[in-house]
Symmetry: C2
Subunit: 308 residues, 2 copies
């Protein structure tokens, strides 16, 4: 009986083989890494060092340096919190702060570990109280790249100026994806100042979109946050010895010229970007046997590289 | 001018306040943690210890034990690889293996670090070569809980027997979510034996659905994999000193009775589960100002607890 089934399968296979001989095989897609590598210089956009936050953590247990680079939402899509963050960086307010909360499949949070205690570090003067309306970007424009993939959280999604976005007929807002940086706050939506920040280190928590402000995303060194030890419950270490000290956070343009990071992203308006997404969602090669044809917005990494 | 804007905003607010006084405020949702806690005993289903793989890693640098528990797809939705994994566990094949690959926002992979080298550990006899058709579950049945959220990868999604699923009109398959455990393979889809496994530690890589077999999910101790140091590129450490040794992997029912884990999940067929999902996607409380109304399938955690 077993043998018969094998024979039938062999027969079926030979029919398939004949059919394949008669019609050409579906062409293989180019590897997306190759498309990125071949993208012309004009398809890349340099990130102004003034739109970068460079966080230096204490070296790891083997003495290796740890640097995390955050790209801030640039003008004209920037929001009020980012002005506060520029002031906090210029005042060196985060220096001697810490990563004090790491919750698995959720966030790594950093700022002042004494926040909400009598020892809290005073904020510099001149910070703005940012209204709830800033959870949406101030100007409406459809993103440069519109993602055809269906989304559980918004009517439409896309990528614009190096950021994952969601939008409806009248508003655009940045989404919570892996690496997204958001502004911690208390209950009232205007209580976040931009001093306490978190980076997403798990499943995109898209339910936070429009509830907490996304102000940037980690574009280098996320592993220094995502590999930190987890704490149980809400991830607060509640033990200063477990915090990871922040040596400094600086705006990229406030670093000495030789230390300023020069990074660029693949423009979501470019043909290379469209080819890259197409090669991802329709991937067909020796390994992949099924292509979904579309992707979740957070599952379209935006290619980033060091310039030059 | 600035003052006028403030005055207008204050006026607008008072109108809103009057409107709110005239009609009752939208009721607050119960916290989902409270719904889980209040779920009657009958809404929970015990996981047969025979459907658990218990992985004991070498203690961490401070001497703390590290245990990772994987729930296997149970009968009748189990697939061929799981039979192999039972044999590998019974043969103690994974003992003295390692976690040898950790790629950020991708996977932690474990098994035989010498795989694909002349020193590779021979597999026990009697393992099945599992056909590509097993990437889909053998029997079609719509999941117990059907998720109304739109999905970029499949016509429908849901939750069944403690697992996140996707389905179309004729097939069901398990999805790649955070914590999902899959079977590493070479190019041909039937080359995965179940010896080399990976756990997802980042954005759900749903493009792997139907391309690689999902056989289970980490239900306890994922932080012991997700907080491991990352390696660059494809995440291979390529340095045995950096591997995390596996002391043992056992089926739950092969452990001494006192060590057998007794875990249960909230049945996706229960009213408590529906209430829990509803409270998540329509959350309305002192903190949340916008409820999306639906969720991505991988963003609906399946409640798990120790029994008793």
């Amino acid at each position: 009986m077993r043998k018969k089934i094998v024979l039938s399968a062999a027969f079926a296979l030979s029919v398939t083989q004949m059919a394949m001989a008669a019609q050409p095989e579906k062409p293989k897609t180019r590897p997306s890494a190759e498309i990125i590598k071949a993208a012309p210089a004009g398809d890349w956009r340099e990130i102004d060092p003034a739109d970068l936050l460079v966080m230096t953590l204490a070296p790891d247990s083997s003495g290796k340096p740890r640097q995390v680079i955050i790209q801030l939402l640039p003008a004209p899509i920037s929001q009020g919190w980012i002005g506060n963050m520029r002031k906090l960086a210029a005042a060196h307010w985060w220096d001697n702060g810490a990563v004090y909360r790491v919750q698995d499949n959720w966030v790594a949070q950093f700022g002042d570990p004494d926040e909400d205690t009598p020892q809290a570090k005073p904020l510099p003067s001149g910070l703005a109280k940012v209204p709830q309306s800033d959870y949406l970007l101030r100007a409406f424009a459809a993103p440069e790249y519109i993602n055809p993939g269906r989304d559980a959280y918004a009517p439409h999604t896309g990528i614009d100026m190096g950021f994952h976005m969601a939008f409806d007929d009248s508003h655009v807002w940045p989404t919570h994806c892996y690496g997204s940086v958001g502004v911690g706050r208390n209950n009232a939506p205007d209580t976040g100042m931009g001093a306490e920040l978190y980076a997403v280190i798990g499943t995109p928590p898209r339910q936070l979109d429009r509830n907490i402000a996304v102000v940037g995303r980690v574009i280098e060194g996320i592993e220094h946050l995502s590999s930190l030890p987890r704490a149980p419950g809400n991830g607060m270490y509640n033990d200063k010895a477990k915090n990871t000290p922040i040596l400094s956070i600086r705006l990229g343009n406030e670093l000495p010229p030789a230390d300023q990071p020069h990074l660029e992203y693949l423009s979501s308006a470019s043909a290379s970007f469209r080819d890259y997404v197409n090669a991802r969602v329709n991937r067909h090669d020796d390994f992949i046997i099924y292509a979904p044809g579309s992707a979740d917005i957070c599952n379209i990494p935006i290619p980033i590289r060091r310039k030059g």
